[in-house]
Symmetry: C2
Subunit: 341 residues, 2 copies
């Protein structure tokens, strides 16, 4: 292509939240394509907590860690600008596993690449309501969590994209919805803008105690994004035969060494709970079907999402720190220079 | 009645396995019955690990602990010798929640009392294959654990009654069955006498490593009776989408203070596992139905159980220590003076 491509290279395994020492923004020639490749000009990078895990050389992770010296992998929205794959052509808008870079090279036969419509009031929703976060929210609540009308539903990291969508799905299914957040601003946001019935603000003191007050009959379904002490606070308040949908264990992703499981783990037995872990790549193939269910709710205004947008590939690490420290509301995106909106 | 009744009274909360300092064998007049009571002459006491939990004043247990000063509650097999309940009469053989005592007073409208048949080749099986342990084994494997032919099945405390029956049920359902035990004698017993495909002996070194060798494709269903480091060893070896049926967490029952959950808890997410806790009183009403399924397997010789019998109510605490320390094989019973076999 002759054009320059910048990408974030994983140079070292990050310690804690020190990404600057671990990742370098490097420049290369845009790679040549081989048969089966597509070249995508990235418009938005989706920032996702799970990526943190792949930066670490942890045993027993979902999949092998990103090798050192390689670009960081992530979900992108962008336009195909060259294709050597028969199912994709120049001009297609795609959501794909690409790289934290200006241009992504992806191989649709080996990794996730899906054509998406430009006819959406806000194409960024392809990386939110109508993307993996929305599917995780829907399936985590409706299927893995088996939510039913009348349930008391609690979700952690409720001001993040997945937590917020899970809560809005649960509300549509007739649950009473309570979100756990980290600030008064977020607590106000989820109740006022996203229609949660109540919020727990971690800064207001003991989370278990707040949940006990808000859920006097116990939690029927807890949708967890964080693990750690918040999971314990929820376990302490589960209803008999409650379900725990484990979407993420954010608090452990940057940790080294053995991490104790929840201290209230024995509640699985005492309350006869069901825990289910799930992982969105397992159900990407169901995305179109789930989107058909979500579409009318979105059009009715019942699935709302805001975006925390950072401009410029060079600012990705700052945005990523904002995501993992929780210093934002909604879906975290990096907007690259070619975005039109 | 005029007859003396001896019973084990919980005088203090036991520390660790020191039952002698916590329980006293006391004598009283056999209590008078009121309407709705039955008086049972206990023939066998069923010793069960879960009773340990009720001796401790733990928060968040299944149910409130046994109050101090009261008799220890436990499952018994015995004969009704007086009845003020219309559904029971003198001479009935019953399995019931009674007391660790010579005579039990039980109220069938408030607690579990079920008439059972004398026409069984070994009536002790009413407290083993055809009692709560058998139901737990069957439902834990077939329903909560969703075992299917071809699964690799692992069970802890495999030489205990529930573990052994779970393993034999899994074998009948077509699983490859591996038991974790605490000695070479037990390992030989479960493979030679109970038909397990393989055994892990904890004394032979690292359990996780042994499981890795025996289950190269991972564990599809782990049936846990113990929790703690054995649960961690299993979690480290789960197959993708594996299930963990949590029947007991024996290692934590005598513990005080916060107990960390499994260090490999994050495998619930990494391997997308399902954990289910269950508790036999939830399904006592299904006992007759489960027994109809188990009967032909028993008659075919595919469900076998041996008994660890201690004679004399006065020796109950010694027997109970043997149970919790694992110094026995099969079902632990205390036989009282009136047993005929």
């Amino acid at each position: 292509m002759g054009e320059k491509n910048r990408y974030w290279r994983l140079t070292r395994r990050p310690i804690g939240d020190d990404y600057a020492s671990a990742l370098d923004l490097v420049e290369e020639e845009t790679p040549d394509l081989v048969d089966g490749d597509v070249l995508i000009r990235n418009t938005y990078l989706s920032l996702d907590a799970g990526t943190r895990m792949w930066m670490t050389a942890r045993e027993d992770s979902y999949s092998p860690p990103t090798p050192l010296g390689c670009p960081v992998i992530g979900m992108v929205l962008g336009e195909v600008i060259a294709s050597r794959h028969p199912d994709f052509r120049e001009g297609d808008l795609v959501r794909a596993y690409g790289q934290w870079s200006d241009f992504s090279v992806s191989r649709p036969d080996e990794t996730y690449v899906e054509r998406v419509s430009r006819r959406l009031d806000d194409v960024r929703q392809h990386l939110a309501v109508f993307g993996p976060n929305g599917w995780t929210g829907y399936l985590g609540v409706a299927e893995y969590g088996a939510a039913k009308a009348g349930d008391t539903f609690v979700v952690s990291a409720a001001s993040g994209v997945t937590g917020a969508l899970a809560g809005q799905v649960a509300a549509r299914l007739g649950c009473r919805v309570i979100g756990i957040t980290g600030s008064a601003e977020k607590a106000a946001w989820i109740t006022e803008d996203w229609g949660f019935d109540a919020a727990v603000n971690r800064q207001d003191g003991d989370v278990a105690e707040q949940l006990r007050t808000l859920c006097p009959d116990g939690i029927d379904l807890y949708f967890d994004n964080v693990g750690g002490e918040i999971l314990d606070a929820a376990l302490e308040n589960m209803a008999l035969f409650g379900r725990v949908a484990i979407c993420g264990l954010l608090t452990s992703y940057g940790e080294e060494g053995p991490i104790p499981g929840p201290y209230k783990f024995d509640q699985v037995l005492m309350k006869r709970l069901n825990f289910t872990g799930f992982f969105s790549p397992d159900f990407y193939h169901r995305g179109p079907d789930v989107n058909r269910r979500l579409r009318p709710w979105y059009e009715a205004g019942d699935l709302r999402m805001t975006f925390d947008v950072t401009d410029g590939l060079e600012n990705t690490l700052t945005a990523y720190s904002r995501l993992l420290s929780g210093a934002k509301i909604g879906k975290s995106l990096v907007r690259l220079g070619n975005a039109n909106d």
